[in-house]
Structure formats: structure tokens, C-alpha cells
């Protein structure tokens, strides 16, 4: 999508063909800077320090990390070392392993002298496939926004509420939850986005607001507390959020607070959609509330917050009194009964048994190259 009018992806091969460029997401939304990775060690550090984040993007980065390693030393030993250090960079990133295994299956059968070229090509395929999936999600979701516009007799912009950042910054391009919004906007459908700030890490207030602003999409940042009030007063036509992990039955594990928005949508008859590549569906579990363990993260993410100081630097302040403990649950589960539909690269599927079966079948008939993507 666009940054200052210029199209960008989150990761790309530099013009020299020997290094990889990424947007440094640790500085957003206050500073836009790209970084060049020249070695696999650069990639490892970048993933570890969250210069890049988002499951699909981490997968693509890992592919390029292998390629940078192969350019220096295409031996089996060098491959295994690169695999190990990349895999250790974000141990819970399921996508990372998927991308690394895919690189292995392509490269190891080849002679060392052909590996570097094949590695760069495969990394590009991984990235391009992600763009394709997200674009397809966007096209299917665009129809929902178009429909809301028609329902409003094309008399006003469509108001979409989103939570967290499931935008192009979390993927290679387009995003998941934001892809339908970009597609609608690019097609001339007037759309306005309510952006939940998404405490504690504020991915909405920082990344989603930044993305939308740079692409020119009208949006308004609100605190996570505000969405219910907006829905009570007809200010939200539909919600679209992403998913970290989805069960076979259609329960959705996503950023903490998603469930509260789904409850409000249900109480006010606002459609609640979840955009996801089918790779995030875990077909082995059904009941998300019972079966999905919820990660707790450092309490400091709740008690201390960072942003732009008056002196133009990134600074942080403590919000809570000394001695007050905090708990930091990263995700929650939205039961399927509050989900209107899953927006996937294969179309929009209500989380009903027969529809989920159909989706599973279509996914099985697909390319089979989709990564599982369980982390942000």
C-alpha cells in the first residue's frame, strides 16, 4: 500500500539484488525508516527485535534470511545453521517454521551452486503468495462493504470498526482485516474506519492509524471502550477484525478485546466479520474458549506506555502506582455465535458446520502452500 503516495510492501529485494529491505516497524507511527538486511544475522535480529512482526511477514522474512545465508555459503551446514538461528528468533511463530521447512524442501535437493538463486526465487514466491491471499481476502471482503454502501443508498460513507492491526504491515501487502477496506477505498466506495487503539500495545493507534492515513483512508482513532457506544448509536455498519487462530467450528482467537466488540455488535445487530487466510484455521480443535491457551505477556506492557515525547524522541511513562500489579492477557476467544462470517481467500463463510466443511474442502483443493500463521 502507499506511504507518502508511493507504493510499498513491508519487505522487498533491494535494487542491488543482494540485500533485503524492510520497513522498521519499531519506529512507527512516529518515524518512517527502511532498513537493509545484508546477512542472515541481520534478519534474525530484525525478527527478534520486532523490526518486522505479523505471522505472514515473519514467514517471508525467514525465506529471505535463508537466501542471504545461501548467497554467502550454500553448504548444507550453512543452511542448517541459518535454519536454527532463524527458527530461534521467534520460537512461537508457527509461520516461521513453515517457511523454513519450505525453503529446506526446495533447496537441499539442489546442488549448492544453484541454491542461492533458488532461495531468492522461493522467498519471493512465499511473499507473492501472501500478497495473493491477502488480495483475495480483500476482494471478497470488499463485497461486504459495497453491500453496506448500497444498504445506505450510497448516501454516506460506510463505517467499519476494526481492532488491533491486521493490516498490510502485518503481512507483505494488503493485510487481512484491512484488505477489504483498501480494496473498497481503491474502488471508490467511501469508507471511514473506527480504529480501536488496542491496549496494551496500541497497534491500532499506532500501526493501523498510520497505514490508513498514509493510504489516504479516512479514519478516527477511538479508545477500546468506545465501540459499544458507537454501535448503540448506528455509527458502525460492520466490524472486520483479523484472527490469530480459528477453530474448526469457527471460534476466533484474536487480540484481547475482540470478544467485547463482538458482543456489542451482536447486541446491536451489527455484522461482525473476521478476515483470515485459511491457514489460520486449526482444524484439530473445535471449542476455542476451552481449547486455546491464552498467552500472558509482561505486565510492563500494561503499566508503562511509550510514544513520542515533546523532544521528538520515543519515550515512555509509567501509568500505574508503584506496587500495583498488572496482568497482561494477549488474546481472547470470540465464540462463533457472535461471528457473522469468516472472510477468507476462498470467499465469505458463516461459521456454521456445513459452511465450515465446505471451506475445509475448498482449502484442501487449493494450492496447499498456505502457511499456518498463529502469531502476531
Amino acid at each position: 500500500m502507499k506511504v507518502d503516495g508511493q507504493p510499498y510492501r513491508t519487505i522487498w529485494l533491494s535494487a542491488d539484488g543482494k540485500s533485503v529491505s524492510v520497513i522498521d516497524q519499531t519506529l512507527l507511527p512516529h518515524l518512517f525508516k527502511t532498513v537493509e538486511w545484508r546477512t542472515v544475522e541481520d534478519v534474525v535480529a530484525g525478527i527478534r527485535n520486532m523490526v518486522v512482526r505479523g505471522a505472514p511477514l515473519i514467514g517471508a522474512a525467514a525465506g529471505y534470511g535463508i537466501a542471504l545465508a545461501m548467497a554467502v555459503d550454500p553448504s548444507d551446514k550453512a543452511f542448517e545453521r541459518a535454519y536454527e538461528i532463524l527458527f530461534a528468533s521467534r520460537p512461537t511463530a508457527v509461520n516461521l517454521r513453515w517457511a523454513l521447512d519450505r525453503m529446506r524442501s526446495v533447496l537441499l535437493p539442489l546442488g549448492p551452486n544453484r541454491r542461492a538463486e533458488a532461495a531468492f526465487a522461493t522467498a519471493k514466491i512465499i511473499a507473492d503468495e501472501d500478497v495473493e491471499n491477502c488480495s483475495a481476502i480483500g476482494e471478497h471482503g470488499k463485497g461486504l462493504i459495497q453491500q453496506a454502501w448500497e444498504n445506505a443508498q450510497r448516501s454516506r460513507p460506510v463505517n467499519v470498526l476494526t481492532h488491533c492491526n491486521a493490516g498490510w504491515l502485518a503481512t507483505v501487502d494488503w493485510g487481512t482485516a484491512l484488505a477489504p477496506i483498501y480494496k473498497a477505498f481503491d474502488a471508490g466506495i467511501p469508507v471511514h474506519v473506527w480504529v480501536d487503539e488496542t491496549r496494551p500495545r496500541n497497534q491500532g493507534a499506532s500501526l493501523t492509524a498510520w497505514e490508513l492515513g498514509h493510504h489516504g483512508v479516512p479514519h478516527t482513532v477511538i479508545v477500546d471502550n468506545a465501540g459499544g457506544h458507537l454501535m448503540q448509536h448506528g455509527q458502525v455498519d460492520l466490524c472486520i477484525v483479523g484472527s490469530d487462530r480459528t477453530t474448526a467450528g469457527g471460534d476466533v482467537c484474536n487480540k484481547i478485546g475482540t470478544y467485547l466488540k463482538a458482543l456489542a455488535a451482536h447486541d446491536n445487530r451489527v455484522p461482525f466479520y473476521v478476515a483470515l487466510p485459511v491457514s489460520t484455521i486449526d482444524w484439530t480443535i473445535d471449542d476455542g474458549v476451552k481449547s486455546i491457551p491464552i498467552e500472558t505477556r509482561a505486565p510492563e506492557e500494561v503499566t508503562v506506555i511509550s510514544g513520542l515525547s515533546g523532544d521528538g524522541k520515543i519515550g515512555s511513562v509509567r501509568l500505574t502506582p508503584e506496587g500495583s500489579p498488572a496482568m497482561n492477557y494477549a488474546f481472547d476467544v470470540t465464540p462463533r455465535r457472535f461471528v457473522t462470517g469468516l472472510v477468507t481467500e476462498f470467499g465469505v463463510f458463516p461459521p456454521l458446520p456445513e459452511e465450515m466443511a465446505k471451506l475445509r474442502q475448498e482449502a484442501a483443493l487449493g494450492t496447499g502452500s498456505h502457511p499456518p500463521s498463529h502469531d502476531r
Copy 2:
């Protein structure tokens, strides 16, 4: 309640009998400082700058403001001037006008030489009545916590979730939503409080956490997004929140985000109580969602946040990208169908027509001296 082991109110006559002391709430939770008001102008500035906040406390402060004015000049003219400047200090504070009118009705019939003494006495009565009301709310609410403890076979602490700050800092002592918690704690019932941070002004993370911590009540700060997840997993026995304004039918207008917690409580069969003096009930309106206008405040409360910097000073950082607009709704309305009971100084009343009629009757038979208290 206690600060560093010592009992405090939020406002009291200083030892010299000529000035009024308050806790400077603008510095909490990071610094505890008391301030002495010597003149009515000090009180006006203190209310305007939110050194004191919370409807009942503002009412008590206004009473003392009149007393300080009368000590200098007990003339009618001086009274009217003090009334005017105090009333203008927080124009939307309904309590302020109520307290000022009460002071007028007591003082003007008296000869000027008796006014100063009567003014200090009446200001003290206003403060003491507020303490009595809050204490009664606490006693009635304590029964609910006791019951939850019995339901758990006294095997573990009772988990209460609260939103915003409806504690003793918003009143003269005890608070409304927190009064039952203090009463239960003081009675030896083990209780643990989940404290919603309450964006955007973070009254939970700052004031509620500070209050509870200083009184020794176990508590944990969470982001506003987390409560639904906790309720899904049996981690909340009951919710207790305050109310800014309550309708005759029992709809509750309170800090933005209250509605989302009520939805989650309902979905998980967690009792949801609202603690309030009957003075916050507006008997002239029924449907809160339709009839209560919701104040919007400065967007900077969303986009900029303050706290304790590394250098030990209060500092602030910007959270959003430049150019991203924000909207800041201060309150929302929780429809009565999500409210288990109103905890008042007259007892606990479910928001059902016959119960509300009973409450109205009991309130009418009461002292009649309760202020309307619509602001925070």
C-alpha cells in the same frame, strides 16, 4: 480510607479552623500531596484544575468555598460573588449548584455576623452526609460480596471487577462502587479487585489502583480489553461500577466502556451491580440510550497520555501518528437489562418497574438532602 496506614478524607477543615485541606488529585498516583485552601479563589482554582474531582467531592468543596468567603466578608454581596465564581468553576457540575443553593438557603436568612460559623458547620454537614450515604451503600454492597464468598465455600478470595474510579477519591470518603469492597475488606472477607485501567483518562490505573493499594486491598490492573476474557474463564465473581446518571427505569450512564463490561457479564452470567446514591437517579427520563446526551471531550485525551517519566517527573507522550484524528466519548449507557441491581444507600434494587417505584418511594421518605451528582 487509609493512605500509608493513616485514615484520610479527600477534604477536611485544617487544624487552624481557618483553611481547608484537600488531596491534590492531579499528582496521583505518582505523588501524594495535600494542598491548603485559604480563600474562595483557591477553591475555585482547585475545582477548575481538577485538584478535586468527583461530583460529591466538588459539592463539599463548594460548601467550604462559601465558608472561606464568609470568613473574610459575610455580606450578601460577598456571598453572591462567591456563589458566582464557584458555580462557574465547573459549569456542568450539577452537584456544585445543589451545594451552593443549600449554603444560600442556610446563610442568607442569618445576620452576617453569624454566617461564617454557620457556613463552616453546613459545609461539614454536606461532607458528613456524603460519607453517611457512601457508607450505607458500602454496607448494602458488602452483603453481595459476602454472598459471593459463601457461594465459593469461603475457599478463595472474591474477585470483583470495577471500571473507572468510583472510589473514596471521587467522594468525601468510602466512594460508591468501591465502598462495598472496603467494607468487605475491613470485615475480613478476602477480596481481590480487577481494576480496568479505563482509557482514555486512566482513572482506574491511576486513582483506583492507588486507593486500593494504600488501603491494602489486593488488586490487579488490567487493560479495558481484558475483562471479557476473565469472565469467560470464571475469574470474576461480580462487577461493581459507579453511575454518573441513572434513569427512572434503571438504565445507567457511566464512564465509557461500562456497557462492554455489562455485555460480557451478561454473556457469562456474572452479576453486574451499579453502586450509586439515589441522587444520581434522574426520575424524569426512562430510556437512557435515547435520552442521555453523551459528552465528547478533547481528542488529545486519546492521542496523548501522561505518566511518570524516567526522570521522576510527570511527562506525556503522543500515541497516534500526526494527522490521525481521534474522537473521545466520555460516557456510555448500559441498558437496564444488563444490570443485576442498583446498590443504593437504601438497599439493593433490581432495575424492575416495581422495584424502582419502591426505591423512589424510599428516597422520597428519606432526608431529601441528597444532591444530584451528575459529573465526574
